[in-house]
């Protein structure tokens, strides 16, 4: 990492007995767009809040452009001026939309006329120029989010922390907002955004990390499934596709997330007769070399299609990481039917409640 805008080391945050954040290492390169992907409640907002110097961590170190946060009030204030956080449900002050957008400028001592001019410009870019005189709290969720984005555009901070920037944005304006976000680094703003949708992260970010249950992983997890753990004949299961149910070994129930480490997925030509309870038939959808490993993506849970034809993408992908040696020995081809097999105990469960 040549020029980190953000560096986090050993960060934890506890609310009473509950540890909501546990991040060993995390960095954001200056001038990049980074994304943190995770479900709701995974600690994304807390992480952004700490990076925005709005909240202190329970332990650990945060460095912004090499400077530690939490040393002195004056230093923090200086750093805070370079960072701007847009909340998931942004607060609209009880005044006009224009005044809301101009707030950040006024706080920085920009004269009233100039502030209003720049605010109007920002509103124009997010497509809300017509709403400048409206009463801000009356805006719809999407309009409020665009207004909050306009606040950031007007101020042009060095680091923008955006919590779910595309949520609630209606389809008509989505492309525009994405374009604005992509243009930010060129204007000198490093972007760190959070989202619960993988596609958003892929489309916008240079680098992604995932945050589940307060723990950060540097890469997006393959095999991340969200669903409900229900009981079937006394056994916990989670449906991930029509006809596909994950068998779990956990006392937790209810809405939860399940992650399967690709290294624990076994591929088999025959439906395996083994002690593994999770066995899904599917077709090989993608193959990728990774050093001395091969990443195999298998689409499971779809109706069968003739050999040689790529599997239709309506199935659920399960990724397996196998050795190059195994790959060559099995002679796996695209579109071939295989089964993805893994043990119940290999599943990692996040969320869920004890019965």
């Amino acid at each position: 990492m040549t020029n980190p805008a953000v560096e986090v080391r050993g960060l934890t945050k506890d609310y009473g007995p509950r540890r909501v954040l546990d991040v060993d290492r995390f960095t954001v390169e200056a001038g990049s767009i980074s994304a943190v992907v995770g479900p709701n409640g995974s600690g994304k907002t807390t992480l952004l809040g700490i990076l925005a110097t709005l909240e202190p961590p329970t332990s650990g170190e945060v460095l912004l452009w090499g400077e530690p946060v939490g040393r002195s009030r004056i230093a923090d204030r200086r750093l805070r001026r370079r960072v701007l956080m847009v909340h998931e449900r942004p607060w609209m002050f009880h005044t006009t939309v224009l005044e809301n957008v101009a707030y950040g400028l006024a706080a920085r001592g920009v004269g009233r006329r100039e502030a209003q001019r720049r605010a109007a410009e920002a509103l124009e870019r997010v497509g809300l120029a017509h709403a400048a005189g409206w009463f801000a709290p009356a805006l719809s969720a999407g309009e409020a989010r665009r207004t909050a984005l306009a606040r950031a555009l007007a101020v042009e901070p060095d680091l923008a922390l955006l919590d779910e920037p595309l949520a609630d944005i209606d389809a008509q304006h989505r492309a525009g907002v994405e374009r604005i976000l992509r243009e930010l680094p060129a204007r000198g703003t490093t972007v760190l955004l959070t989202t619960h949708r993988l596609e958003t992260a892929y489309r916008l970010a240079d680098r992604c990390a995932s945050l589940i249950g307060g723990s950060l992983r540097d890469t997006l997890p393959d095999n991340h499934f969200s669903g409900t753990i229900a009981e079937s004949d006394g056994e916990p299961v989670m449906a991930i596709a029509p006809g596909c149910r994950l068998h779990l070994a956990t006392p937790l129930r209810g809405p939860a997330h399940v992650v399967i480490d690709p290294r624990t997925v076994i591929l088999s030509r025959e439906p395996a007769h083994s002690s593994a309870r999770n066995s899904f038939a599917g077709r090989i959808a993608a193959l990728a070399a990774e050093g001395d490993r091969v990443r195999v993506t298998v689409d499971v849970g779809m109706p069968a299609s003739p050999r040689g034809v790529p599997a239709s993408p309506r199935g659920v992908p399960i990724v397996a990481l196998i050795t190059d040696w195994s790959f060559r020995e099995m002679n796996l081809q695209l579109g071939e039917p295989v089964s993805a097999v893994f043990k119940t105990v290999a599943l990692e469960v996040y969320g869920g409640k004890p019965p």
Binding site: G49, R81, L84, M85, P90, W91, F93, Y103, A107
Partner: protein, 231 residues
Amino acid sequence: MRWTLEQLAEALRLLGSLDRQVLSALALSLGVATLSTVLATAAGVPIGIAVGLGRFRGKRILTTVLHALLALPTVLIGLVLYTALSSRGLLGSWRLLYTPAAIVVGQFVLALPLVTALALAAAEGVDPRVRLTALTLGAGRWRVARTILAEGRGAFLAAVVAGFGRVFGEVGISMMLGGNIRGYTRTVTTAIALETAKGDVPLGIALGLVLMAVALAVNLLFLHLRRRATP
């Protein structure tokens, strides 16, 4: 029953004839109440916001003490301040006793805990996102406070109204520190006390009705202000 109605009828009749002394008492009551409320607001609201937003060790104890001060009887405040303002007292050289200024001082002491406690509650009642949004947008301490005030203005206005109401209708302080001097420090409330002590019940009631009418007018004005503040 009949006697009560007679007294009320007499009171209404007296209201019709607007006595010069009544007007003078009314002007004085309004004046000292307004002045003391303005001063209590100027001091209490910033303190209330600062404590309300703050996170420090003694906050709960401080808030509890503040609430306890709300129970201070006006005669006690009057008595303590009398010993301070008296010629022999600590602030005797200021020669404030038995002047309207002394009433203002006493009513300020009365209104301050109330306005502060309510401003504190108002600040705590503002959505926590307000403070965070203001901070991340670069606001310094003063701007954050002003923003909290603007966002919670309904509740803050209610604090001021409560303070005004408290001092407008009080008699203990006006009596002890003002002296009920005819034409000089005779407020409507001390006049009511005097007339009822003399047994002139109709006049006492009439004055009370005048007091309440003015209080109603003031509160209607506050209501109007509040409506305009929150579109």
